[in-house]
């Protein structure tokens, strides 16, 4: 699994803890890494991902249908799942303020041993680390 993930574009380092099943992925300097590809690589290696958390920075953008989006690059963005923290960030939509947030990007549906890969990834913010 470590090799599978390590081969993905944008991955600099992979640390695997066999005891608690924790996998830490450090992106390369440019941060151009695709979490969906990591989920697929993990899935392909025969292991099931229970949760995926990310720490990312970017701008808050309104997608037009009341949904907020964290834009981490011109070609990459994550729709924010509505919660109290995302509502607070709503006032920053369309501004030049950069936020660094931590959040849950994927959680395996309960009751399933091995679930299919998700078709879309929504970010549920658990912590706002920085606004600048």
């Amino acid at each position: 699994m470590k090799q599978h993930i390590g081969r993905q574009v944008g991955v600099q380092k992979v640390d695997v803890n066999l005891i608690d099943g924790k996998v830490d992925v450090t992106p390369k300097e440019d941060g151009q890494i695709d979490p969906a590809q990591l989920l697929k690589a993990t899935y392909d290696s025969g292991v099931s991902t229970a949760e995926m958390d990310i720490t990312a920075s970017g701008r808050i953008v309104s997608s037009g249908s009341d949904a907020l989006v964290l834009q981490t690059s011109p070609s990459q963005s994550f729709t924010l799942s509505p919660n109290d923290l995302s509502k607070d960030l709503g006032s920053l939509a369309g501004t030049t303020t950069f936020v660094t947030v931590k959040g849950l990007l994927y959680k395996k549906p309960p009751g399933k041993k091995k679930s299919d890969l998700p078709t879309s990834l929504n970010l549920s913010i658990t912590e706002v680390l920085k606004k600048e």
Binding site: M1, V16, L18, D20, G21, K22, V23, D24, V25, T26, P27, D30, G31, Q32, I33, P35, L38, T42, G46, V47, S48, T49, A50, E51, M52, D53, I54, T55, A56, S57, G58, R59, Q71, T72, S73, P74, Q76, T96, F98, T100, K108, K114
Partner: protein, 36 residues
Amino acid sequence: MNIRRLALLGLFSAMLMGPTANAQIKHIEMRVEGMT
């Protein structure tokens, strides 16, 4: 004159590109099951 224009262009580019360079995924943590 050209140097001044170039300097201004560089300054505006840095203002626009600087924040974009900061936008990125900084860390990913997964919890996996079924690992041997």
